[in-house]
C-alpha cells in the first residue's frame, strides 16, 4: 500500500515538475523547486528529476555553479530519442517543414544533399519508426509524398471527397450527379404543379439553392464521406456543363450571395450533321470521289442506307 502511495506521489511529483518547467521557460533551479514544493524531501525530488532526465523530458544545464533544469523541445525529444544520426534528423526536419502537403523524395534529396540510396535507407528507417509516412498524391499517382506520421494529408494531396486511395471515384460522382439532377427536376415539376398560370412565380420557384440540394443529398445518406455545400456545388456545376441545368446568382437582403440551380431541357435536339455517316466519319479528309476511300464504295454509307 505504502509502495503504491509512494509510486503515485512520484508520478504526481514528476508532473508537477514538468508544469513548473513550463511556467519557467528560463529553467528551474534547485532553490525554486525547493520553494515551490516545500513538503517534498530532497531524496524524492532527486529521484523524480533523475527519472525525468533519463526519460529525456528534461535537459540539465549548468550556470554559475548551479544546476538548471529545462523542458526539452517535444519534437527534439522524439527526434533525439529515436533518430540515430544527424542525417536522419535533417531528413526528419525537412519533411516536418513540408507540413501536410508532403514532400517528394527527390526534393528531400536536393535539400539534404544526400545520395538516393542513403536517403531511401533513412526514409525506410523513419517509416519503420512511425515518425513519417508516405502518401500517394492524386495529381501524380506514381509520386510518393512524405509527411510526418501524425499529420492528415492536405486536400490537394488526397483530392477530397472524390478520391479514395488516390483513385477518382467516378461512379460516386456519377451517382451524385444523377441524384442532384433528380432533385432539380423534382423541384421544377413541383413548381409547375403548384403555380399554374403564374409563369414568373413558377419559374422562380423552380430554382433550388445549392444548400437545399445539399440537404436532400445528405438526407439520402448515399455518401459515406461527409459532403459540404461546396462539394454539392461542384457536382451541380457538372450538371450545367452537361447542359442539364442553369444557374443564377442572387443575393439576400444582407448582401450575401447564393447560387440557385434549375433543371433545363436541351433547346437543340440534334444538329443533323452527326446523323449522317460523313458527319462523324474519321476518314473524311481522305475520302474523295474515285479515291481509295470514296463515297460510292463507303461501307459506312452502306450500313446507314440499309439501317
Amino acid at each position: 500500500m505504502n509502495n503504491i502511495d509512494s509510486d503515485f506521489s512520484l508520478v504526481d511529483l514528476e508532473k508537477k515538475i514538468l508544469t513548473l518547467c513550463q511556467s519557467h521557460p528560463k529553467g528551474l533551479t534547485d532553490s525554486i523547486l525547493q520553494d515551490e514544493m516545500p513538503n517534498v524531501n530532497v531524496e524524492q525530488r532527486v529521484s523524480a528529476l533523475n527519472r525525468l532526465l533519463s526519460a529525456g523530458n528534461l535537459d540539465l544545464f549548468k550556470s554559475d555553479s548551479q544546476l538548471i533544469y529545462k523542458l526539452k523541445d517535444p519534437d527534439l525529444v522524439s527526434k533525439n530519442a529515436i533518430c540515430e544520426n544527424t542525417q536522419e534528423k535533417l531528413v526528419y526536419q525537412v519533411i516536418g517543414d513540408a507540413g501536410n502537403k508532403g514532400i517528394w523524395s527527390r526534393d528531400i534529396r536536393l535539400k539534404c544533399n544526400l545520395q538516393m540510396t542513403q536517403l531511401n535507407k533513412i526514409l525506410r528507417n523513419l517509416e519503420s519508426k512511425k515518425l513519417i509516412k508516405a502518401v500517394k498524391s492524386v495529381t501524380a499517382s506514381k509520386k510518393k509524398l512524405y509527411m510526418l506520421f501524425n499529420l492528415d494529408p492536405d486536400i490537394s494531396v488526397t483530392g477530397g471527397a472524390w478520391y479514395s486511395d488516390q483513385d477518382f471515384e467516378s461512379e460516386f460522382v456519377e451517382v451524385l450527379n444523377q441524384q442532384c439532377y433528380r432533385c432539380l427536376v423534382q423541384k421544377v415539376e413541383e413548381s409547375l404543379n403548384l403555380c399554374v398560370n403564374q409563369p414568373r412565380i413558377s419559374l422562380n420557384n423552380s430554382f433550388a439553392s445549392s444548400e437545399e440540394v445539399w440537404k436532400i443529398i445528405t438526407n439520402l445518406k448515399i455518401s459515406k464521406v461527409t459532403l459540404t455545400v461546396t462539394d454539392i456545388e461542384t457536382i451541380l456545376n457538372t450538371l450545367i456543363y452537361d447542359g442539364k441545368a442553369e444557374m443564377k446568382i442572387e443575393s439576400d437582403p444582407d448582401g450575401q450571395e447564393f447560387k440557385l440551380y434549375r433543371a433545363v431541357k436541351p433547346i437543340i435536339d440534334a444538329s443533323g450533321l452527326e446523323k449522317t455517316p460523313c458527319g462523324i466519319c474519321p476518314v473524311i479528309d481522305q475520302c474523295y470521289e474515285n479515291g481509295a476511300i470514296s463515297p460510292a464504295t463507303c461501307i459506312y454509307m452502306k450500313e446507314w442506307l440499309e439501317s
Binding site: 495529381t139 414568373r200 456543363y241 437543340i268 452527326e274 458527319g279 463515297p295 460510292a296
Partner: protein
C-alpha cells in the same frame, strides 16, 4: 410595371434580321475545295450532268468567259449556253465585263449554297401561309423565276389534279389569295424579264465585244428588296416574272428557330408571344432597319386565338424573356440570341458525335473561353486520364485549340501550362466545311446508287429476255423428250423470287 414592360417590349423587338450575307461570311474561312465540291454536286443534283460540267469549270477558274467554258468542258456551244441560261434563270451566276476576256461568268457561291435550304423555305411557307402557298413556293423554286400568270395556271392545274383524286371541288381564288399573301409578306418579289430576258442576256453578252460600253446591269439577277430590278437599255422589255425572296425566307427560317428554342425552353405560350413580337417587328418594306417597339396591347391582340392569356400573365412572360441571360432574349441585338443558338448547336453536335463526357468538357471551354488543362479536369469531375484524352481528341478534331505556355526557359513539358481555348468562328468553319463535304458525298452516293440500280435493272431485264428466248428454243426443239419440263423448270428457277418481284415492278414502270 406597364412602363417597364414597355421597355422590355422595346428591347425585345428591336431586331435586326439576319441576312444571308451576314451569316455566310463564314464562307471566307472555309476551305474552297469543300465548298466547290458541294456547289458542283448541288448543280448536278438540281440540273443534271451538263450543268455540273459548266459549274465545275466556273468553280475551278473563279470566273470564265464563254469561250473558255466551251473549251474546258468539251461541251457544245449550245449546251454551255443553255446551262448558263438555266443558271442565270435561277440566279446562280452573274457576269462582268473584263478588259481582256470579254464577259466573265462567275458563280454566286453563297446563293448556290442556299439551294440546300429549299426544303426549309418550302416548309416555312407551308407553316406560315398554308398548303397552297407551299405549292406556289415549290413551283417558283423549280423554275427559278416565273411569270405570274404562268405560275398561277400551273398551280391551279396541279390543284385540279390533286382534287380529282380527293373529290373535293377546287377553289381557284385560294391560289390568288395565297399568292397575294406571299407577295404582301415579301416572300415573292418581282424581277423584270422572265425567261425571255435570260435568253436574251446570254445571247447579247455573247455577241458583245469587250470594247462595247453597253455594260449589262450587274444587278441583273440580284433582286433588290421590294424594288423592281434595274434593266439595261438594250435588253428587250419582257413580262415581269416572280422570284422567291430568299432573304425574307431566311429571316423566316431564323425566326422559326428562335420561336422553337423559346418553346423548348419555356412553353408554347412563351413561344407564341415571341412569334407575335417577331411578326410585329417585321417590316415588309425595309427589313434591314431597326424597327420600333411594339406595345403590350399590340402583342396581346396579335396573339393567336388559342393563346388566351391575361394582360398580367403576358407581362410576366415578357419579364421572363427580358430577364433570360442564358439565351440573351432581352438583348436588342438579335445576333446575340443566334450566337447562343450556335453555341448550343455546337455543344449538341460534340455531345452526339463523341458522347456526354466530351459534351461536358466542350461546354466547360465554351463557358470559360480559355482554361488550363488541370482546371478543366477538376471542373469536369472526370478521371484526369479520361479528361486529358478528351481534350486532345477535341483538339485533333479542331473543335478547340491548345496553347503551350512554358514556365521555364527550357520549356520542359512538366512545367508547361496547356491552355485550351475555343474560337467559335473557327469551330463553326470546321463544322460548316464538314457539312458541305457531307452534302457533296451524299449526292455522289445517291448518283452511284441510282446508276448501279439502273445497271442492276438492265441486267435483270437482259436475263429475263435471255431466259425467254432459251425457253422458246427449248420448246421449239421439243421432240417428245420427257426431260423438257425439267429443263424449263430449271430455267424458271434461275430467277429468284426477289428478282421476279423486281421484274414485276419494272414491267409496271415500263407499262406506265
Amino acid at each position: 410595371m406597364v412602363n417597364a414592360v414597355g421597355l422590355y417590349g422595346k428591347k425585345l423587338v428591336e431586331i435586326r434580321p439576319i441576312f444571308p450575307n451576314r451569316v455566310l461570311n463564314l464562307l471566307h474561312y472555309c476551305p474552297m475545295s469543300d465548298i466547290n465540291l458541294c456547289v458542283i454536286k448541288l448543280a448536278r443534283l438540281l440540273f443534271g450532268e451538263v450543268v455540273e460540267h459548266v459549274v465545275s469549270c466556273l468553280a475551278q477558274k473563279g470566273g470564265a468567259p464563254l469561250r473558255d467554258i466551251i473549251q474546258r468542258s468539251k461541251l457544245s456551244k449550245d449546251e454551255v449556253k443553255n446551262s448558263l441560261c438555266i443558271l442565270l434563270q435561277h440566279d446562280l451566276i452573274d457576269y462582268t465585263l473584263s478588259n481582256t476576256n470579254g464577259y466573265l461568268y462567275r458563280l454566286k457561291i453563297d446563293r448556290i449554297l442556299l439551294c440546300n435550304r429549299y426544303p426549309r423555305y418550302i416548309y416555312a411557307s407551308k407553316f406560315l401561309f398554308g398548303d397552297i402557298a407551299e405549292l406556289i413556293v415549290e413551283e417558283i423554286l423549280l423554275n427559278g423565276q416565273i411569270i405570274k400568270n404562268e405560275l398561277l395556271d400551273q398551280i391551279k392545274s396541279r390543284l385540279a389534279d390533286i382534287v380529282e383524286k380527293d373529290n373535293t371541288p377546287p377553289d381557284p381564288t385560294e391560289v390568288d389569295t395565297a399568292f397575294d399573301e406571299l407577295a404582301r409578306n415579301n416572300f415573292i418579289i418581282e424581277v423584270g424579264g422572265g425567261r425571255m430576258l435570260v435568253k436574251s442576256e446570254v445571247e447579247q453578252v455573247d455577241k458583245m465585244t469587250p470594247t462595247t460600253n453597253n455594260k449589262p446591269s450587274e444587278e441583273v439577277s440580284t433582286p433588290k428588296k421590294g424594288n423592281k430590278r434595274q434593266r439595261s437599255e438594250d435588253i428587250p422589255s419582257a413580262p415581269v416574272s416572280k422570284r422567291l425572296h430568299l432573304e425574307e425566307g431566311t429571316n423566316e427560317i431564323n425566326y422559326m428557330m428562335i420561336v422553337e428554342v423559346i418553346g423548348k425552353k419555356y412553353d408554347s405560350i412563351a413561344a407564341a408571344i415571341m412569334r407575335s413580337m417577331l411578326e410585329l417587328d417585321a417590316n415588309p418594306q425595309e427589313s434591314d432597319i431597326i424597327t420600333n417597339a411594339v406595345r403590350l396591347k399590340e402583342i396581346k391582340s396579335h396573339l393567336p386565338k388559342e393563346v388566351n392569356v391575361t394582360k398580367s400573365i403576358l407581362e410576366e412572360y415578357l419579364t421572363i424573356l427580358y430577364e433570360d441571360k442564358q439565351l440573351n432574349t432581352g438583348d436588342p441585338d438579335i445576333l446575340h440570341i443566334f450566337s447562343e443558338i450556335v453555341k448550343r448547336t455546337l455543344e449538341c453536335l460534340v455531345q452526339q458525335r463523341f458522347g456526354s463526357n466530351f459534351g461536358r468538357i466542350f461546354r466547360i471551354i465554351v463557358h470559360k473561353k480559355s482554361l488550363e488543362q488541370k482546371k478543366i479536369c477538376d471542373m469536369a469531375m472526370l478521371p484526369s486520364k479520361d479528361a486529358k484524352a478528351i481534350l486532345y481528341t477535341l483538339m485533333v478534331e479542331k473543335f478547340i485549340r491548345m496553347q503551350e505556355i512554358p514556365r521555364s526557359l527550357d520549356c520542359v513539358a512538366s512545367k508547361t501550362f496547356h491552355l485550351f481555348s475555343l474560337d467559335i468562328l473557327d469551330t463553326c468553319t470546321v463544322v460548316l466545311s464538314r457539312s458541305y463535304k457531307a452534302i457533296a458525298n451524299s449526292i455522289i452516293r445517291r448518283d452511284w446508287e441510282v446508276n448501279s440500280n439502273r445497271q442492276r435493272e438492265m441486267r435483270l431485264l437482259d436475263k429475263s429476255e435471255r431466259l425467254k428466248t432459251m425457253k422458246k428454243s427449248v420448246l421449239a426443239n421439243t421432240d417428245g423428250n420427257v426431260s423438257i419440263d425439267e429443263t424449263i423448270r430449271e430455267l424458271e428457277e434461275s430467277i429468284t423470287p426477289i428478282e421476279s418481284q423486281q421484274l414485276k415492278i419494272l414491267r409496271e414502270k415500263f407499262d406506265r
